[in-house]
């Protein structure tokens, strides 16, 4: 069930500063529907600085990890240095790599 207060839903706002760049999370706003969310996002996050595109996503459509997931999800990456490219030495004499 979407969480609503006085008919307003929470939306996450993503702004793209220039064509080809990734949309980056800018913050959140409340709005009654998607069109209104875009307009509020424009007023709050796009009035200063260059923006070429805006995304709004209902906050409750985002499925996120919880704090207790941190260990099982992210710790295993710590002790496997061979997953990082710098782990490998480039042999002498290799060209055009």
């Amino acid at each position: 069930m979407p969480e609503e207060t006085n008919g307003l839903r929470l939306w996450e706002v993503f702004v793209q500063p220039r064509s080809g760049a990734p949309h980056e999370h800018a913050g959140s706003i409340r709005a009654a529907n998607a069109e209104m969310a875009l307009q509020h996002a424009r007023d709050v996050y796009a009035r200063r600085g260059p923006v070429v595109s805006l995304w709004v996503v209902p906050t409750d459509a985002i499925h996120a990890t919880r704090p207790e997931d941190t260990g099982p999800f992210f710790d295993p990456a710590d002790d496997k240095p061979y997953r990082h490219p710098l782990f490998y030495k480039v042999p002498h004499g290799i060209q055009n790599l």
Binding site: A31, A32, N33, E35, Q39, D43
Partner: protein
């Protein structure tokens, strides 16, 4: 073509620029009254942004009016040192802000009008006005979109929001005729291709406005025997004096005060 403006055209143009500038100034002030009182933070910001856009239009138009008049008056002089009878805005923009539905209904009716007008003014033979119109037209495109979205939200929202919006439309309807009045001042400018024929813009306004009203499940108000008029000649409702008393207080109490 500015230097070659002959007397009657110049005089008409001065009045016309005051009319456009005063509409923007007074509506901008009415919108600014929402600052801190919006229904929720995001819409509060949206209304303040609209107000700033109109103040920007007013500044550009009144600055130009001062140049055309040639008496050395700045936009500030014209905004803050004229009295009620020297203002030429329509009654529609001076009515108190009312509830949120009233503000939205007025915003919708006015911005559809202004959007059509400034689209036409982009090809005005008076270049400085065409330049202002091109910039304002972009902002007005957004204003129409914003108020139209709210017309749908409130019209198709709850029983109460529908009722309040319909009530506002019914009150405001008789104030819309004034937007399309054609008088001698306008005819002079139409003949010089400086201003468009408002009577010709009216059918487009009517189609746009009525289609949104109907889509938003509202009823088109019945034509009233009373029709507001007089604003373009300096005759106003009792509300404008109160607005000016507040808006002009500081520059009148402290002439030439600087930030």
């Amino acid at each position: 073509m500015e230097p070659t403006l002959e007397g009657t055209v110049r005089k008409a143009l001065f009045v016309y620029l005051l009319r456009l500038g005063d509409d923007a100034l007074i509506l901008g002030h009415r919108l600014s009254e929402w600052c801190g009182h919006g229904p929720y933070l995001e819409e509060d910001i949206a209304l303040a942004n609209l107000a700033l856009d109109y103040l920007g239009h007013a500044e550009a138009l009144l600055t130009l009016a001062g140049e055309i008049e040639g008496a050395g008056r700045t936009a500030d002089d014209l905004a803050f040192r004229r009295d009620v009878l020297e203002f030429y805005n329509v009654h529609l923009v001076e009515l108190p802000r009312g509830d949120f539905a009233f503000t939205i209904a007025r915003q919708f009716l006015f911005s559809v009008y202004a959007h059509l007008l400034f689209a036409a003014l982009r090809t005005s033979r008076f270049q400085p006005l065409a330049g202002i119109a091109a910039k304002a037209h972009k902002e007005l495109t957004y204003h129409v979109r914003h108020s139209r979205t709210w017309m749908h939200c409130l019209g198709e929202g709850t029983e109460e929001s529908h009722y309040r919006l319909q009530r506002a439309l019914n009150v405001l309807w008789e104030y819309t005729g004034e937007l399309f009045e054609v008088d001698d001042t306008l005819r002079v400018l139409m003949a010089s291709s400086i201003a468009p024929d408002m009577a010709a813009l009216y059918p487009q306004w009517k189609i746009q406005v009525e289609s949104v009203i109907q889509q938003a499940t509202l009823s088109i108000p019945e034509a009233s025997p009373y029709r507001a008029t007089g604003g373009r000649r300096g005759h106003h409702t009792e509300h404008l004096g109160h607005l000016l008393a507040e808006m002009q207080f500081l520059p009148r109490a402290y002439p030439d005060a600087k930030w």
